[in-house]
């Protein structure tokens, strides 16, 4: 497949701009991100799907592929098929992904592969979760989902994601002298972006004093290092560039996309000061024919502030251990060297499992972000991370054509 092959700038110039094997995101949908919606994960996913269809100018009949991810609080048998039935679709291709926060970006590549293989032509991905509503209604337990061998973590008190990620952050501080102030700069910048987004759960700006005063949860993580618990939904539609040309929205192409899966447990992950992103980044840039300097904005999976730091290093926006020089002078804010998570991310918009990282990138490339628009955005990096510290990773470069 052309878009997966390493392409040098020279070859790109000499190749005719064929639309074959090129794929686009032609529709997006979101519902409001909030603490509680008092509705089901299914209903949320259906709302976003419906909006994505309207946005793309498509009817249910036009969709022949349906992808989703398991709603963690309510794992459901044949879930992609259930969604399809509710939308009046009898797809030729349906699948439920299982890659946690990597699922939305990975779904783009699943859609491309399915279209390329001739299984379908136009794929809807939708995901919605009422995590906020659910979390407040039920006590925290082992979980309705089997997380896999929690016996070697939970009996020792390693419960929930913050503690596991904090183990990585602590080691990074030890090896590179990374400071709470640097993690705080990520939280503060992300919150500023959320303050510019009407569809965000936490919109009051915070400063360094607020960050440092926020309670230690899993030391070294403070409250503001952690993402939110939210009800949300998001959806997008992927099709070939040939079809995209006949649809109403400006064309947003998937310029490159990759996945890499690395480990399953925090104690089998190896070096926690780096991640599988370092393996994936050069491959992704090569496939897109660009370098880090060509990235106009990045929607980086931000389960925690440290998750962002790892990616800023891996994707070549700063040297390892030198995030401070990028963060200084508003480097990851709007107007800075690399605007990161312009929608407010999981940290402040709300934990949407990464699907709204995709829809935000599409909105930026369409020029639909008004007060938080990145000027002349052409290439946007979008990433997803599943499990602890990039057990699963998927990343894409979305491009305005």
């Amino acid at each position: 497949m052309d878009s997966f092959l390493p392409i040098t700038g020279l070859i790109v110039l000499s190749r005719p701009r064929s639309t074959q094997n090129r794929y686009c995101i032609v529709g997006i949908g979101e519902t409001s991100v909030r603490k509680s919606s008092e509705t089901t994960s299914l209903n949320l996913a259906l709302s976003a799907a419906s909006r994505a269809l309207d946005d793309a100018g498509l009817n249910a009949d036009d969709i022949d592929g349906v992808l989703t991810d398991t709603p963690y609080h309510d794992p459901t048998f044949l879930y992609s098929v259930l969604l399809a039935e509710n939308l009046g679709i009898q797809p030729s291709y349906a699948s439920t992904l299982d890659l946690g926060g990597a699922s939305p970006v990975a779904a783009i590549s699943q859609a491309m592969a399915a279209i390329q293989a001739g299984l379908c032509t136009t794929v809807l991905f939708t995901i919605g979760q009422n995590a906020g509503t659910n979390y407040r209604q039920r006590p925290p337990t082992h979980g309705t989902l089997n997380w896999g061998y929690s016996d070697f973590e939970e009996p020792f008190g390693l419960v929930g994601a913050p503690g596991a990620y904090a183990l990585g952050a602590r080691r990074h501080m030890y090896e590179y002298g990374t400071t709470p102030e640097q993690l705080g700069a990520i939280a503060i910048s992300t919150r500023h972006h959320a303050s510019l987004n009407q569809n965000a759960q936490m919109r009051s700006p915070i400063n360094l004093e607020d960050y440092l005063a926020s309670p230690l949860i899993c030391d070294p993580f403070r409250l503001f290092d952690c993402s939110l618990i939210s009800d949300y939904s998001g959806a997008f539609i992927v099709t070939s560039m040939d079809r995209a040309r006949d649809l109403p929205q400006p064309i947003v192409e998937v310029a490159a996309i990759c996945q890499k899966h690395h480990h399953r447990y925090v104690y089998t992950a190896g070096d926690l000061t780096t991640s599988v992103c370092t393996q994936l980044a050069p491959k992704l840039y090569r496939a897109a024919g660009i370098s880090p300097g060509d990235v106009d904005a990045a929607q980086l999976y931000d389960s925690f502030t440290y998750t962002v730091l790892l990616q800023l290093e891996a994707y070549g926006f700063c040297k390892r251990g030198d995030v401070g020089s990028l963060l200084a002078n508003g480097g990851i804010g709007l107007g800075g060297a690399l605007p990161v998570n312009t929608h407010g991310g999981l940290l402040s918009q709300g934990h949407a499992n990464g699907v709204l990282h995709v829809t935000e990138a599409v909105k930026q490339l369409r020029g639909d972000c008004s007060g938080r628009q990145v000027k002349d955005a052409k290439n946007i990096l979008v990433t997803g991370g599943g499990g602890i510290l990039f057990a699963s990773h998927a990343a894409t470069i979305l491009r305005k054509i």
Partner: protein, 135 residues
């Protein structure tokens, strides 16, 4: 409100681990083909796919690779323990595990600290391999 226990629920792969703990022995699976020690327990060696293994006791000594201090409880059964420290411990035998650091003040825990296993009885059936500082 159901307070689901966080205690281990041994399965066919992990029974020998927990049974040994109840005798205050820390042991892991060793692939008898490629001699790689592994954790968590599983039936196939991820290094060489061999299905042959034995259970090997280890020294119970190691160093702290990293640690986190819980100051908020993520489960009702952990509330009484706050604050507590969970660490990744690199055992002498080149295996990393998750455990709790006990008998050490929170501000005295450090990366690189030498630790040794201390079995703690948490109910009639279960001993957990926690770790304490050693010189």
């Amino acid at each position: 409100m159901t307070d689901h226990s966080l205690l281990p629920t041994p399965d066919s792969d992990s029974i020998p681990f927990w049974e040994a703990c109840s005798r205050k022995v820390l042991q892991f699976q060793l692939c008898t083909d490629c001699l790689t020690l592994r954790h968590p327990p599983r039936v196939i060696c991820p290094q060489c796919r061999s299905g042959k293994y034995s259970w090997e006791p280890v020294s119970g000594k190691g160093t702290v690779y990293s640690y986190v201090i819980y100051r908020r409880s993520f489960h009702p059964s952990l509330k009484a323990d706050l604050p507590y420290a969970v660490a990744l411990i690199d055992l002498e035998e080149n295996l990393r595990i998750v455990s709790r650091i006990i008998n050490v003040p929170m501000d005295a825990i450090s990366i690189g600290m030498s630790v040794a296993v201390r079995f703690v009885k948490v109910d009639e059936k279960t001993m957990l391999p926690f770790f304490s500082a050693i010189d």
